[in-house]
C-alpha cells in the first residue's frame, strides 16, 4: 500500500542529496551580527528603564539586568549545546501521520482556496468588530478588552500586513524556486528561513510560557506568589531573545543533513504546532481570567499569547500549503506512477458521482 508519505521527497533519492543544507558561515555570521545589533538597539532604546540607559551612560547591574543576562546566556548555551550534541541533525519520522499528510498534499489546491477564505473571513471580521489593529482580532473575539481603534493605526495595519507577507516570502525563499531543472537555493536564503522560523517559534514558546504563568497566577508581582513577569520590561525582551536564540540553534539542527524541502517542512510543522498549542493553552486561560484584567490586558500572559497565536497560525498556514504543494510536485517528478494513481483515484470518484 502506498499511502504513507515519506519524510519529504528526499527519501526516494538519498544518494543524490540534492539541495542539502550546508552552513554558509559568512552569511550566518553577518546575520547573527545584524540580529545582535537589533537587540542592542532595543536595549539602548530601553533607556527609559531604570536598569539600562546606555545613552545616558548608565548601566547599573541591577537584579533585572542580571536576570536578563542569565536568560540570554541560558538560551544561547542551550542552542549551542544542541548544535554540538546533534552534529548530523535529527531524525524525524512522519510515518504515523503519513496518510494524513498524503491526503493534504493531494488536496493542496483545496487547502489554498480554504486559506484564501480564512483570510477573507479574517478581514471581514476585522471590519465588523473594528479591533485597533488586524492582528488583534482574537482580542476582539475572545478577550473583549474594549481597546478602541484609532485613525492613526491605518499605516500600522498596512505595515503589519506587509511584514506578514514579506516574512512568508522570506521563509519560503529558503526552499528555492519552482523550475523543471532547479538549482538549489543559495545558502544564505535558508539562513533567513531559519531566522524567521526562530522568531515565529520563539514567539509561540514565549507566549505559551506566559500563558502558563498567568494560569498559575505567577506573572503579576501583586499576586504575592513568586513568579516571572515576562510580559513587560527588560525581562520580557530577555526571555523572548533567549527563546529566539534557542530556536535559532534548533532551526540549524533541523536543517542539518536534509534537503531544503524537508528542513522547511520540519520548521513550518513546528511553527504551526507551536502556535496551535499556544492558542489551545491561552484561550481557556484568557476566558477565565479576562474579567480580572479587563481594564488593561497589557500585563496578562494569556492575553499576549492569544493575540500572538492568531497571526502566527494564519502566517504558518501559507508556507505550509506551499510546502505541501512542493512535496506533491516533487513526488510527481520522481515517481511517474504517482501521477497515474492520482488520476485513477479522481476518475473513479467522478465515476461514482455519475
Amino acid at each position: 500500500m502506498s499511502v504513507v508519505l515519506p519524510e519529504g521527497p528526499s527519501r526516494a533519492q538519498p544518494a543524490r542529496r540534492r539541495g542539502v543544507y550546508r552552513p554558509h558561515w559568512p552569511s550566518v555570521a553577518a546575520f547573527s551580527l545584524a540580529a545582535s545589533a537589533v537587540l542592542v538597539g532595543w536595549y539602548i532604546n530601553g533607556g527609559k528603564s531604570d536598569d539600562f540607559d546606555v545613552l545616558a551612560g548608565r548601566v547599573s547591574l541591577t537584579e533585572g539586568v542580571r536576570q536578563s543576562a542569565g536568560w540570554l546566556a541560558g538560551g544561547l548555551a542551550l542552542a549551542l549545546l544542541m548544535l554540538v550534541v546533534r552534529p548530523s541533525g535529527v531524525r524525524w519520522h512522519t510515518r504515523p501521520i503519513g496518510a494524513l499528510l498524503d491526503l493534504l498534499a493531494l488536496h493542496w489546491r483545496a487547502l489554498l482556496v480554504a486559506y484564501g477564505v480564512v483570510i477573507v473571513a479574517w478581514a471581514a471580521t476585522v471590519v465588523a468588530l473594528r479591533p485597533p489593529a488586524w492582528p488583534l482580532l482574537f482580542d476582539a473575539l475572545f478577550s473583549h478588552s474594549g481597546l478602541e481603534p484609532d485613525d492613526s493605526v491605518f499605516w500600522y495595519n498596512v505595515a503589519f500586513a506587509a511584514a506578514f507577507v514579506v516574512l512568508q516570502l522570506v521563509f519560503i525563499s529558503g526552499v528555492g524556486g519552482v523550475r523543471i531543472r532547479r538549482e538549489p537555493a543559495r545558502p544564505w536564503k535558508l539562513t533567513f528561513s531559519i531566522a524567521v522560523f526562530a522568531v515565529a517559534t520563539g514567539l509561540a514558546a514565549w507566549g505559551t510560557v506566559a500563558a502558563c504563568l498567568q494560569l498559575v497566577d505567577r506573572i503579576d508581582a501583586s499576586s504575592g506568589r513568586q513568579g516571572l513577569p515576562i510580559v513587560s520590561g527588560t525581562l520580557a525582551a530577555a526571555v523572548l531573545s533567549a527563546s529566539w536564540l534557542f530556536w535559532l540553534g534548533a532551526g540549524w539542527v533541523l536543517a542539518r543533513g536534509v534537503p531544503r524541502e524537508t528542513a522547511l517542512g520540519r520548521m513550518i510543522t513546528l511553527v504551526l504546532a507551536g502556535s496551535w498549542i499556544e492558542f489551545m493553552v491561552a484561550l481557556p486561560v484568557e476566558l477565565v481570567t479576562r474579567d480580572r484584567t479587563k481594564d488593561c490586558p497589557c500585563g496578562s500572559g494569556s492575553w499576549v499569547a492569544l493575540v500572538s497565536a492568531g497571526p502566527l497560525l494564519l502566517w504558518s498556514i501559507g508556507p505550509g500549503i506551499f510546502l505541501l504543494y512542493r512535496f506533491e510536485w516533487q513526488r510527481t517528478q520522481e515517481d511517474p506512477a504517482h501521477a497515474r494513481r492520482v488520476l485513477q483515484r479522481k476518475t473513479r470518484r467522478n465515476g461514482a458521482r455519475r
Partner: protein
C-alpha cells in the same frame, strides 16, 4: 484474521470520545459563565471594604482581610490609585481583588451593595432587604465556587471544575484504544471489508462531507478536552487562590500539558490511520472489481 469487531469497536469508541469532549466543554462553559460574576462580586466586596462598609468579621467564612495600597491599570497608559484586598478564608484558601474607580464620580457609598444585589438577582439567589454586603457576597461566592454537578451515568456528584481532569485522560485512553483497533484492522488481511463505517467507506456528496466532519471532530476532540483542563485549572486558581507551591504548580501544568499533547498526537494519528484504512479498503474493492471483470470476460 477477521477484524470486523475491531472496526465496530473503533466506531463505538469514536462516538464516546465525541460525547465526552462535549460533556467537558459543557462543564467548562458553566463555570466560565460564572467567572465574570465572581470577579465582579469580589471587586464589589473590595470596594465595600475600601469604603469601610464591611470587615472580616462580617463576611461568613472569612478569617482575615489585608489591604495594600497599589495602582490599577485603567488602560494601556492610565493608572489609578487602588486598594488591593487579600482575603483569607477559614479553610486557608485566599483570593485578592482590587478596589478602584476608573471614573472617580462612580465612588458612591451605596454602589458596592447595589452591585452585589444585582449579581445575586442575576443568579436567582434570595436577597433579604436587610442583607449587608458581606452576607450577599458570601451567598454569591458559595453559589459560584462550591457547586457540584451530578454525573448521572456514574451515579455520583463531583465539583464542576474537576470534571475535565477526569474526562481528559479518559479521552486519551479511548483514543489509544481506538488507534489500536484501527491498526489491527489495517494490519489484517481483509481490512474488515464486510463491516461498514462511513468514515472508511468510499462515499460521495453528503456522505463524504459527514465523513470529513466526523474525522475532523475525532482529531480535534482531544485538543478540546485537553484545553478544558487548562480552563478548569485557571478557574480553580482564581476562584480559590489556590495555596500551592511552585512544585505543585509545575506538576499540574506538566500533567495538563501531557494530556493535551498526547491527546492531540493520538487524535492526529487516529485520523491518519483511518485515512490509510480507507485507502486500503478502496484498493481491496478495486482488486475485487477487477477480479470479477476478469472472470466475466473469460
Amino acid at each position: 484474521m477477521k477484524t470486523g469487531s475491531y472496526l465496530s469497536s473503533a466506531r463505538t469508541t469514536s462516538l464516546l470520545v465525541l460525547l465526552l469532549a462535549y460533556v467537558s466543554v459543557d462543564q467548562v462553559t458553566s463555570f466560565l459563565n460564572s467567572a465574570g460574576a465572581l470577579q465582579q462580586a469580589r471587586e464589589a466586596l473590595a470596594r465595600a471594604f475600601a469604603l469601610q462598609q464591611v470587615s472580616a468579621t462580617q463576611v461568613p467564612g472569612v478569617m482575615a482581610m489585608r489591604p495594600v495600597q497599589t495602582r490599577h491599570s485603567c488602560g494601556f497608559f492610565d493608572k489609578v490609585d487602588a486598594t488591593q484586598l487579600t482575603v483569607i478564608r477559614t479553610d486557608n484558601r485566599k483570593w485578592r481583588a482590587d478596589a478602584f474607580w476608573c471614573d472617580a464620580q462612580e465612588r458612591q457609598p451605596p454602589e458596592p451593595r447595589t452591585a452585589l444585589v444585582r449579581i445575586a438577582r442575576e443568579l436567582y439567589l434570595p436577597v433579604a432587604d436587610a442583607a449587608d454586603p458581606g452576607e450577599l457576597f458570601a451567598a454569591i461566592e458559595h453559589h459560584l465556587t462550591d457547586e457540584r454537578v451530578e454525573i448521572a451515568p456514574l451515579g455520583f456528584a463531583m465539583r464542576a471544575d474537576l470534571t475535565p481532569w477526569v474526562i481528559g485522560p479518559v479521552v486519551v485512553g479511548l483514543l489509544a484504544l481506538m488507534r489500536n483497533c484501527t491498526r489491527s484492522v489495517l494490519a489484517g488481511d481483509d481490512h474488515a471489508i464486510e463491516e461498514p463505517w462511513l468514515l472508511v467507506d468510499e462515499g460521495v456528496g453528503a456522505e463524504r462531507a459527514v465523513a470529513g466532519l466526523w474525522m475532523t471532530a475525532i482529531a480535534l476532540a482531544p485538543w478540546v478536552s485537553g484545553s478544558t483542563i487548562f480552563a478548569a485549572f485557571a478557574w480553580r486558581v482564581y476562584a480559590d487562590g489556590s495555596m500551592t507551591t511552585a512544585l505543585t504548580d509545575v506538576t499540574l501544568v506538566a500533567v495538563a500539558a501531557t494530556v493535551l499533547l498526547s491527546g492531540g498526537w493520538l487524535g492526529m494519528t487516529v485520523a491518519s490511520d483511518l485515512i490509510a484504512l480507507r485507502a486500503a479498503r478502496r484498493q481491496r474493492h478495486d482488486a475485487e472489481a477487477r477480479r470479477v471483470e476478469a472472470i466475466e470476460a473469460n
